[in-house]
């Protein structure tokens, strides 16, 4: 092989992508760590920005809101996505169309979904019309501190559930039919088939969906920034909105960088748990 020209060939193939990935993904992460360690005044490095954000009631509140939100939205979305996947894992007329209808919202920019649902959830909007037609009092939705977070959860679930359903459907279709036949011969009920065949066989897909969904939900931004700006009374101040308002509205780039580092650490921790869980005991025994 031509030794002289070889490094140039590799550079020509790999250079642009590697440069883009390093400059546009990794460097900003390093830059954020560096910036977060610069004290607001003075030279050198210190943990002052971290001390500040971890004593800042607004940041601490955003962590609590993000935790509550995550604990509700992830199980909820996965339960609905799994139920839909099991329901739709059957050959009935137009099944492709029905699946596509559930998946379509994910194709739309989140900002558009936020704007549309913002109009839909207006006090005199169609959702309240439906609520009243069912015999209930009209609700305040996004303007109520008690209902705003639930409204955000409704919106992001409408967006995301079809996406996760598609992964779970792919997982369901890989389960060998013979397992169900064997279970039926043993007299297993529908529920037992689901519990002892479907769930264990779906473990890898479910783990992936759980982790990817958790990360995606950590990053929810457009619906919050467009519809509530974190309010009312901080009830929807998810961490991405907190970082944005810290960095752009207040203009404290160093605290925002510290909060960014906290968020990225969370994300990487969740992803590394995924890698652990994907390698479950029974896989290692094989």
């Amino acid at each position: 092989m031509d030794r002289l020209r070889q490094p140039l060939t590799i550079l020509a193939f790999l250079g642009p992508a590697l440069l883009a990935v390093v400059l546009l993904r990794l460097w900003p992460a390093v830059f954020a760590v560096d910036l977060s360690l610069r004290p607001p005044r003075g030279e050198g490095y210190s943990l002052e920005n971290y001390q500040f954000i971890f004593t800042d009631p607004q940041f601490l509140n955003s962590l609590v809101v993000t935790a509550i939100y995550s604990l509700i939205v992830n199980p909820l979305q996965i339960a609905i996505a799994l139920a839909l996947a099991v329901l739709m894992n059957v050959a009935v007329p137009l099944i492709g169309l029905w699946r596509t209808m559930v998946l379509l919202p994910v194709a739309i920019p989140q900002s558009v979904s936020a704007v549309v649902w913002g109009v839909g959830l207006r006090p005199d909007g169609p959702v309240n019309a439906l609520v009243q037609a069912l015999g209930f009092e009209p609700q305040r939705f996004l303007t109520s501190p008690d209902q705003a977070l639930a409204s955000i959860i409704l919106i992001v679930s409408w967006i995301g559930v079809g996406y996760w359903m598609t992964f779970l459907l792919a997982g369901l279709q890989e389960i060998p039919r013979t397992l169900y036949e064997a279970a039926r011969i043993d007299g297993a009920s529908r529920w037992q088939q689901f519990r002892y065949v479907t769930l264990p066989q779906l473990r890898r897909t479910l783990t992936f969906v759980l982790v990817a969904n958790t990360v995606a939900n950590f990053l929810v931004f457009a619906p919050v920034q467009i519809l509530t700006q974190g309010g009312p009374q901080g009830s929807t101040n998810l961490i991405m909105n907190e970082i944005y308002s810290q960095g752009f509205v207040i203009g404290d780039a160093r605290s925002a960088a510290a909060a960014t580092v906290v968020l990225v650490s969370f994300v990487l921790a969740v992803v590394s748990i995924q890698f652990r869980m994907m390698r479950a005991p029974e896989d290692e025994e094989r």
């Binding site: 990935v21 993904r25 329901l87 549309v116 457009a222 991405m240 960014t260």
Partner: protein
Amino acid sequence: MTAAERVLRTLTIAACGLLFFLPLWWVTVSAVRPQEEIFAFLSPLSPWTLWPRNVTLAHVVELWSGPFARAIFNSMYVTVVTVVIGLVISAKAGFALAVLPFRFREGVFVVIVVSFLIPFDAIALPLFGIMRGYGLQNTYTGLILPGIGNGLAVFLLRQFFLGIPRELREAAMIDGMGWFGIFWRIYVPLSVPALISAGLILFVFQWQAYLWPLIIAPAPDYKVAAVAIAQFSDFYGTNYSLIFAGSFFVSIIPMLVLVVFQRFFAASIATSGSKD
């Protein structure tokens, strides 16, 4: 399943599909009805709630003659350039990582994987701090750049290229073909489905982008559709007809892309989800 169960299940499935589709249908209907009728048929609910009693295209025309047309054009331009450039550099990198023998291949591969484990939106603000210093605010370059460095696209293509038998390139080398020839004449033509999947990843990333364009390109000339729609009231007050018409056009483009390429979308899901 008995016949009755089958009918019941089909109806349940159809009901779920329609329930998810309902908001999109409402957007479409509201985009073509006169503005005063958008909230008119809600209490009590009537067939006119979901079917336009009067159809007008007046605000569709108004939309396309206003600043929003520019925003849609910006989105299309930025997305097309991202997909084209992103595909070229991702495919070349995927080829290098799958085929070319070189010393730090494993190390470079780890860098690529780590890069897509860090979600872009999380590092958008620090990147803004860097790019602002290079005068990339309010430029197409600033909008496009983050979209083309996509580690996931590189990863996907590498995985696909690894599955192409090495005998093919060995035969080509005996015929005197160089690496570029092998890449362009053998690997690219054999990889159309993977290229479409990677193209979809690049497309969705850029068309959906909100936080990045919001901060890097706030000037009206460079505003993309996803941002413009969120700031609609700045242009049009509370003209809901225009908001719905805008939402319709921003949504219909990715929906058509999804419907046309759904097969490849599912394929990319299968690679990233259930396999190693």
